[in-house]
Subunit: 351 residues, 2 copies
């Protein structure tokens, strides 16, 4: 293709063998100064760039780890990605970032791309089961680490944040503020995150000796293209919320994007927050604190999660892989209280 120059041509022009050129590139210390300089000059002159595919073919694996997230439009995942990327770069690996947009189809497509690429390892926030493909990776010896999702023991590593606890934190806070009629707004319940946060919320309701009916659930459109449009889904949900009677006095959203959407609609409808409706989000993305009413939110250590995930993955691929033991790391979320849930609440700014 387009007269691309290979190692062979470099060797020829420099008057050495291909092996030597390879040594110049990969083990310069094994080549005499003189030869090295000459070869490097030819490389420069010809604009030679080594072919990663040939290299990889020989090596059997690539220097890329892939990261497949649920929703790139959500700053939370961007943070996760940046954490993972930093860790990978420190180890000389590259990160290929992809977005499944919560679609099992996209997810499957990307996973098979990764398989064909023979990536070094896979970091993934699985959409749902998708166990099939992932098991195939493991069978082939490619480690898979779950991010933001606990992994059933034995199978592999995972880093997640305790979503049940997070749901509990949010609802406990609302209960403490005196609310007894709470709505939970989330994406589709097939997502473990949505499920677990609900479980935690419900658990807290029961711990307070209240009937389950005190927590009402609004699930946003089950459509495939929900992802990335979370704020819009939040607006829809808010419309449904306003139509409820009696109207809940507090809302807990499964992520900040939803919460911001809700906030927008409430703001537009003249419903005051937190006086008439208190609002709690999840993720504590940077925008949460800049919202119309600064948003109370459950903070997740996103970057840290990404970093740890990458580190676990690299540990599993590295030389020390032999005595690697799978770990399921569960981090603790933290409630950040702001104005959206407490009247005249703290002016505290996040971050």
């Amino acid at each position: 293709m387009a007269g691309s120059v290979g190692i062979k041509e470099v060797a020829q022009q420099a008057g050495v063998s291909v092996g030597t050129v390879s040594n110049v590139i990969n083990r310069p210390e094994n080549v005499s100064e003189q030869t090295r300089v000459r070869v490097l000059a030819v490389i420069e002159r010809l604009g030679y760039v080594r072919s990663e595919s040939a290299r990889q073919l020989r090596a059997g694996q690539s220097r890329i780890i892939s990261l497949l997230v649920l929703d790139m439009a959500n700053p939370f995942f961007v943070d996760v990605a940046s954490g993972a990327e930093r860790a990978a770069r420190e180890a000389g690996l590259w990160v290929m970032l992809c977005n499944s947009a919560q679609s099992p189809g996209e997810e499957a497509g990307y996973l098979s791309l990764f398989a064909e690429q023979r990536v070094r390892g896979v970091l993934v926030t699985p959409v749902d089961g998708s166990g099939r493909e992932l098991a195939d990776f493991r069978r082939r010896g490619t480690p898979v680490v779950f991010v933001d999702r606990a992994q059933p023991s034995e199978e592999g590593c995972s880093v997640s944040v305790d979503d049940v606890m997070g749901g509990g934190l949010a609802v406990r806070h609302l209960l403490e503020q005196g609310h007894r009629d709470i709505a939970y707004i989330s994406g589709p319940m097939r997502l473990t995150q949505c499920q677990d946060r609900y479980t935690g919320a419900l658990g807290m309701i029961e711990r307070w000796g209240l009937p389950r009916s005190r927590l009402r659930h609004i699930e946003t459109g089950g459509l495939e293209d929900t992802a990335g449009r979370d704020a819009e889904a939040g607006r829809d949900a808010a419309a449904r919320l306003l139509g409820m009677s009696p109207r809940p006095t507090a809302v807990f959203c499964a992520n900040d994007l939803l919460a911001l959407g809700v906030l927008q609609v409430l703001y537009g409808a003249g419903v005051s927050v937190p006086e008439e409706i208190a609002l709690v989000g999840y993720d504590d993305i940077e925008f949460a604190s800049a919202a119309a009413v600064p948003l109370t939110s459950v903070r997740q250590p996103a970057q840290r999660m990404g970093r740890i995930a990458a580190e676990l993955l690299m540990e599993e691929t590295g030389d020390a892989a032999r005595h690697h033991r799978h770990q399921q790391i569960v981090l603790r979320p933290e409630l950040v209280v702001r104005g959206s849930s407490v009247s005249g609440g703290p002016k505290e700014r996040g971050m």
Copy 2:
């Protein structure tokens, strides 16, 4: 590595030649039903996955196009990416998304990774000159399309939004509201975007017959790690803004993240927006309309830009490449007026 099965083993087990297996995969219509079924069964049983690297080595180029953006933490670029990705996927190509984080070093690193990968083409929002590496790509026959950055004619395609016009729109609006002392807050001026928006802003000031001094410039930290922390940079800038005397009555920010940061500080300091200070942002990211005071912003057609860029790139690589003519497409930005710049302003909600 890990006993990975190749086409050879499949061929052997199915009792056919490797050529036939390849045909089963790539030209199934040329293989008899019977053979095909048998081969597919073996593939399934062995868990064979074809090696992209070997494939690519043979083909000379990959099925991946790369997209290198300035700042993944900015939703604007996430939109650009999603537009590009959609277009690429429709054409059967994959997008490798990377983040230069406005660092020339990172940019160079990624570009050489792309070169080694022999990507099909490069979409890039260049940090600064970086002409060297990009010229090398072209020399090797790999098309390079600039995104969100006009390209000097002849060299290649580009899609951008008229930043000079955008800067003008923002400032004209503020002038029309009666403001005569405006601050422009931006990232480092080596970024063309920041530069051009400033030019447009200044041009408008002059068109109104006002002295240039009516536009004061605050440039945020020249530090390398500015990227991704734009909202924070906005907070810093706002602090400096509050220290100015006389204090400007209006602020135009080079992106919404900066504007949101500014807004946060103003809000915290009890400065009312837009009464005491009017605020205009740039990009019209989704969060702009959900801010404490809905943000007036210059909207850029981000997704469309991404899509067009990918389409231009594919046109340049495709079969029709022979009669391809480089194009510099310049889209028009659009001002979206919200409450942050007009007292009792429109309640309009974005999107």
